[in-house]
Amino acid sequence: MKRLLKIYLEKPELAGLVLLVILIAVFQVKSDGIFLGQQNLRGILGLLPETGLIAIGVTLLMISGEFDLSVGSVFALMPMSMAIAMTHGVPFVPAMMLGFAVCLAIGFINGYITLTFNIPSFITTLGMLFMARSMTVVISGGFPPLLSSDIPTWLFTSYVGPGELFRMSFLWFLVVGILAGLLLARTNFGNWITAVGGFQQAAAATGIPVKRVKMVSFMLCSVLAGFAGMIQVFRLGSPLPSIGEGLELQAVAAAVIGGTALTGGIGTILGGVLGALLIRVIDNGLVLTQVDANWFKFAVGFLTIFAVVANAWLRARAKRIKVEISS
């Protein structure tokens, strides 16, 4: 029993989950039951994949011990590259491939510069944040291109499920989330990600290709950010060069609320997803309960700090539960 309690207290996503449940309950009561109504859930779940996909990538990368502040810009650059290619007559699928190739290249550059010159990824990706945003505006030529109407956007935006509860994008998000969760927890590569972030020297001493593991994490993170941006553009119908601004910090907040350690080595994909959901819930709940929506950032900021403090407290509690390890 004590052992079970200890195991659960040590789960990094616990604090996020508890906060989520509390907030949902509060909003449900304050909004007279509208919050969990079908209409409103559709709204939340329709936006969740965009924040959620970025959060998954950022969580993965943070567990490997690195940072990516450029995700918000990549979020805009990917769909913009795709749309510009299409205005030049490139068909949808190759244009999309091109967009993802841009993401892979940015992830590669982020990783390559960070690892080769041994500088903090905070700096590398901060630089990339500005550069990728600038490229987005430049290639757009100041006028956002129109998306042609024969793109199969329904693959990402149409409503499906019981009572048309969620968009197709939610299914993509679910699949990516499950795959990323499996990757991290069940595959040897995931084990390496955790080991590299947890204690790099130990990982290197056991023969793990540290640089390649981080490189792949950087590239995965960029691709997921681009994917999220593409989904948003399909939903909005036009690739605006300004989308995704500030999303990088929301993604870090989501990962941290979900229990990911800033220092790497600790965290789960589920935690990152819960963190993203929490952010969406706050955003929606504040509006629904007629609180001034400008409190949104305040609430996210407060919860980020609160979740980390709560997590540290829970972990300290767990440590104090005395379960004999040796027999």
Binding site: R186, A195, Q201, A202, A205, T206, S327
Partner: protein
């Protein structure tokens, strides 16, 4: 005379202006427990790093089991059967014992080109066995390594090396920062290696520890081997004298 399991021949290493290893040659025969002593900067860590693949030599050759080998990474060394246990950095504290035991060598249930799903069940079962084999009694392989004591961690590291049937085990200051009781436990592990016929190199500042569990003493100073004698033919005073 049995042929050596590892033979270092005229190893040279420079660090910009420092001549860290000067034509160091060392042969170790199977089953030997060699104690490597020396002051900081004597070159013992450099020599060990070259054997375990963390650094590469500027000149000289390493022969393992009679064949010349090129050890360019820790992985190369591990594939040859050379395992190194460091003072701190052989375990990831935020991961479970079972995962730590198999980092980089996870048993796979389904894999393509070396990547795939870990066989978690097998990993747990084998961890329990590996830990029990070194007389370390832990109730669960799911406990985080960060919750273990220093001595227990070294025990797990040694269990890992034993499990992967290492032929040569290098212990780099494994007793630093451990309590007396824990130190004795680690020395016990080292002695059990000898009983199982595993060759070992034990590095320590503490000459008492070395004499307690090694049968040959090699002392280094200023990048050279200054003493190499069976433990029975030398004593602590002589070793301290040459250092």
């Amino acid at each position: 005379m049995t042929s050596p399991i590892i033979s270092c021949q005229k190893i040279e290493k420079w660090y910009s202006g420092v001549h860290a290893l000067k034509q160091v040659s060392l042969d170790i025969v199977p089953g030997e427990a060699v104690g490597l002593v020396g002051d900081n900067g004597a070159g013992k860590s450099t020599l060990i790093n070259i054997i375990s693949g963390v650094q590469t030599a500027d000149a000289g050759e390493v022969h393992f089991e009679g064949r010349p080998v090129s050890i360019r990474s820790p992985r190369d060394a591990m594939d040859l059967g050379i395992e190194t246990i460091y003072q701190y950095n052989s375990m990831v504290p935020s991961m479970s014992i079972a995962r730590n035991l198999f980092i980089g060598r996870e048993p796979l249930r389904l894999g393509v080109m070396g990547f795939g799903l870990i066989d978690l069940k097998k990993m747990r079962q084998e961890s329990v066995r590996a830990i029990a084999d070194v007389d370390l009694h832990l109730r669960t392989p799911d406990a985080l390594v960060g919750e273990l004591s220093g001595g227990q961690r070294q025990g797990v590291a040694i269990a890992r090396a034993m499990y992967f049937k290492s032929k040569l085990m290098i212990l780099d200051e494994p007793t630093n920062h451990l309590s007396v009781k824990e130190t004795n436990k680690v020395l016990g592990f080292v002695q059990s290696l000898k009983e199982q016929g595993i060759t070992s190199i034990f590095i320590s500042h503490n000459i008492h520890h070395v004499f307690e569990c090694c049968d040959r003493i090699v002392a280094m100073a200023r990048g050279e081997i200054v003493l190499d004698k069976p433990a029975s033919e030398t004593n602590m005073d002589e070793v301290l004298d040459v250092l």
